[in-house]
Symmetry: C2
Amino acid sequence: MAILVQKFGGTSVANAEKIRRAAKRVIKAVENGYSVVVVASARGQQTDELIADAFELNPNPPKREMDQLLSTGEQQTVSLFAMALDAAGYPAISFTGGQVQMLTDNVHTKARIKSIGAERIKKQLDEGKVVLVAGFQGVDDDGNITTLGRGGSDTTAVALAAAVGAKECEIYTDVDGIYTTDPRIFKEAVKLEQISYDEILEMASLGAGVMHSRSIEFGKKYNVKIHVRSSIEEKEGTIIMHEVPQMEGVAVTGATVQQDMAKIDLVNIDNKPGNAAKVFASLAKAKVVVNDIMQTEVSSKKANLSFLIGISDLTSAKEAAEQMKEEVNCESIFVREDIAEISVVGVGMRTHYGVAERMFGALAKAKVNIDSITTSEIRISCVVNKDQAEEALKVVSVAFELDKAPKERTK
Amino acid sequence: MAILVQKFGGTSVANAEKIRRAAKRVIKAVENGYSVVVVASARGQQTDELIADAFELNPNPPKREMDQLLSTGEQQTVSLFAMALDAAGYPAISFTGGQVQMLTDNVHTKARIKSIGAERIKKQLDEGKVVLVAGFQGVDDDGNITTLGRGGSDTTAVALAAAVGAKECEIYTDVDGIYTTDPRIFKEAVKLEQISYDEILEMASLGAGVMHSRSIEFGKKYNVKIHVRSSIEEKEGTIIMHEVPQMEGVAVTGATVQQDMAKIDLVNIDNKPGNAAKVFASLAKAKVVVNDIMQTEVSSKKANLSFLIGISDLTSAKEAAEQMKEEVNCESIFVREDIAEISVVGVGMRTHYGVAERMFGALAKAKVNIDSITTSEIRISCVVNKDQAEEALKVVSVAFELDKAPKERTK
């Protein structure tokens, strides 16, 4: 029998009524002939409450104990979920991460999965049971409980889907799929039927985060079809999958805007090998996550070095940059907090010409000034003034017909 | 270094403040040179809340899933407790039952311990850490989580004390020790310095239940000194240990009263082999727990058969007795709900004469009528009218000088 993995987030299992509703989804899949593996998160605000309990006792709780504590939330959900299925007449069995040999490294609070023992799960599926696995958690080689960090339950679900050879991994969430762009800004945005791993990875890293990048990377690596869909409505959501030829039919699949950004310019630094490396080493030491990097030669001896960061990292980033100022012989440091980044993403860019022109043209026509530009193979990003960000997203969305499904677009 | 096991019940770890207070006990023991193993229960009402969550989803939750659910409560406590110790500068590590190979049979919700892997605990103690173990839980041979039933955390503590060869197992509770009798009735009752396993087992089964019988049986079997003491006050409590000669210096160590009892008399049944067995088989089938049994011959052909039960079992017990009425040719069934049982317990009874006379004399002097009498090697019990129960306990307590410590008594 084909295996289906279904993942339910914390809001979808927050109370008895919601667990029963989620159980109905499982039952429907069983009735449709699937063997079902369920992955669930901690109920509602449980994880936050446990974190508060921990910090009440220790301002800097040991990470191993934090994992020991937080993993209980998911364990509670899956046992309760199994009880709900049992009450409806569907035999079910719940497992902790450790019980299904979800082996990870020993980096507590952000462990990475090394391997999964699928035998125990398959045996139970073969016996006709629904198997429930606590999300977000694993064990290291010594049997210590670990957790996978942000988005961990998605990663558990995708990894399990790979391990058991599931037909699909369904991610039930409070949105009904992935949209061409943010519908709160461009209300004509449409839901995508499918999107490639690479595209969603670019979009996720740009802040359109329905799912955490790690689970997508896992899906890409092990070729797991991920179906992001609504936990409330019945309709189909968006399939995240490997690129297929028709995805290249359009140049741009979606557009994103990333606000809460800041840009730091190091003006007129000495243009010699290793200077950029020194700056970014200093930023890394200060734990600043750098998004885009731009370097331009001013002369044979001088260059400007710019980079984008999250606004929350601004203080540390400024300090780190100031510390390097003398060493790289920087004339002045210039900080902009009033910016945002608009990006268009699409695997079709590889074969379509004129994407950049179309984007810049739309922005120019709307009198949006472009501060700087960066690109990847399947993405073009422009830094613009923050107060023009929403207008910029709208005109770009219109230019690329993001109000239409890819196959209905004219170009 | 000598090892000390300290067990804290749910009320002693109900919130952050109480966990910190319990941690101070641990720290004191560490400062006194002990290696400390802590066993803790679920915080406050957590277990009851989880049970309510389960029954909201399933009126008859599968026991395996119930264990999976309930075991999280203790896991949370020990990780939080470890954080509290860490915050105070004392390195600590928490374990689930499974992580310390607390192997049990697979009888979910009332599993029995088969073996404990002490190596992991000893290794951590040797590294100078306080080791915390989640009480009440274990794993079966297949890695399924099991729980030990009522009083399970006490059993965990005593079993761990046996496994690691602890000097003593301290049970912190909301009473400050074991008293000669119930101080709520006989306010002059005194705390015992020590009591034998056999005596506390007789008293526990008679309803003076500070600790569950199973943990005492474990202590007796593996010779673990159990120290029952207050989680609030500093003073010494009561040591439960193997009988030592001075315990026999007095006839009676303590007295108990068991209320909420009922007595059923089967009057004039056929006095032939197997009839009593038939009655008790019928009661067992109805899941009635029978306390004391009394049979008296009325003639060579007829006998009266009486037994004591808890009042909550009365309806089932009456039904079971009625069903057997014809088969044993019983003339009439007589039920008394207005009774209580007064008992005196002491290993000294084995060598002291006149205990029964002293007890019956005290009751007679106070005009307490004795309905029936049963005895064991170290116990004498009298069934009396319920409305005379407290008076009976008082006069018996005075007769045996239960207002004095054993060594201070005159006889």
